[in-house]
Each structure stands twice: as C-alpha cells, then as structure tokens.
Homo-oligomer: 83 residues x 2
C-alpha cells in the first residue's frame, strides 16, 4: 500500500540537546567534517487507498495537529514516498 | 552550509509500539484513511565543506555505526538535502 512520509524537525531557533550530543560524539570519533547535527522524526503513514490530493491534505492536517508539536517543531515535508 | 539528511526507520519485521499508538490515535480521531504508522528518525548533518563522495561515504559510515541501531533499525536514506 502507498505510504506518505511526514518529516518533523525541531525549530531552527531552538536548542536541540540530542543533536548536540550526537555532534559531540562525532567530533570525538574524528568525524569533524560534520559541524552540527539536528535530530527530528520521520513518520510513515500507510494509506488505505490512493494518494490523491485529499489524502495529502489529511496527512498535512494530521502532521500539523498531531505528529508535530507546533511550539517546538516544524513539519518540513509531507509527500508520497518514492520507492 | 550544506546538509546531509540521514533517515532511520525501525526494521519492517519489528513491532513499532510508538507507531501503533499514533495509528490508534488517528483512528479514534476519524482519520481512518491511514491504516498503519511507523515512527523513525531524521538526522540533519551540517557539512563543513562540500558534499562530495567522501562526505557522503563518511555520512553513510556514521549512519550505520552510530545513528542507527543495526539490530532494530535500518538506514533508509543518506543524501544531500534538496532545498
């Protein structure tokens, strides 16, 4: 069945302690090419039916209302998964 | 600075209790178009320098070794962020 992917990231202006911790670990391991890391979420919504405009609108609504916490997170992508 | 995105999802054969909980909540809210949900992670690695083959190889190595737990998770994407 088709899948809609929703991606959520912490807002750019907020600290991301989890990302900071990962960035620190990478630095200690010698991967100093990566100067910053941010950690967000990726949701896969399996759609019962076709991925039409209505399904994407539903997914956008669900993403903003439920999957992301609008105070601290932004929805960065809502799109059909490309195989 | 350019960003490499790494996406990690729980392995398909494993239960994902967090995804199950979200799917249940969606059903109760009348969004029964979505029959299943899985929840994974999305990492944004800021690259100090160009995103060349070496940077992507480093990101893939880091993704498999550190960002994903290979026992329960799969790396599903490592690619440069498209703006």
């Amino acid at each position: 069945m088709p899948v809609i992917v929703v991606e959520v990231m912490p807002k750019a202006e907020l600290l991301d302690p989890q990302g900071k911790a990962v960035a620190g670990a990478l630095g200690r391991l010698g991967k100093d090419r990566f100067s910053a890391v941010r950690v967000g979420k990726r949701f896969e919504l399996t759609v019962d039916g076709p991925v039409d405009e209505a399904a994407l609108a539903d997914a956008r609504e669900v993403a903003e209302a439920l999957l992301a916490n609008g105070v601290i997170e932004d929805v960065v992508r809502v799109s059909e998964e490309v195989a």
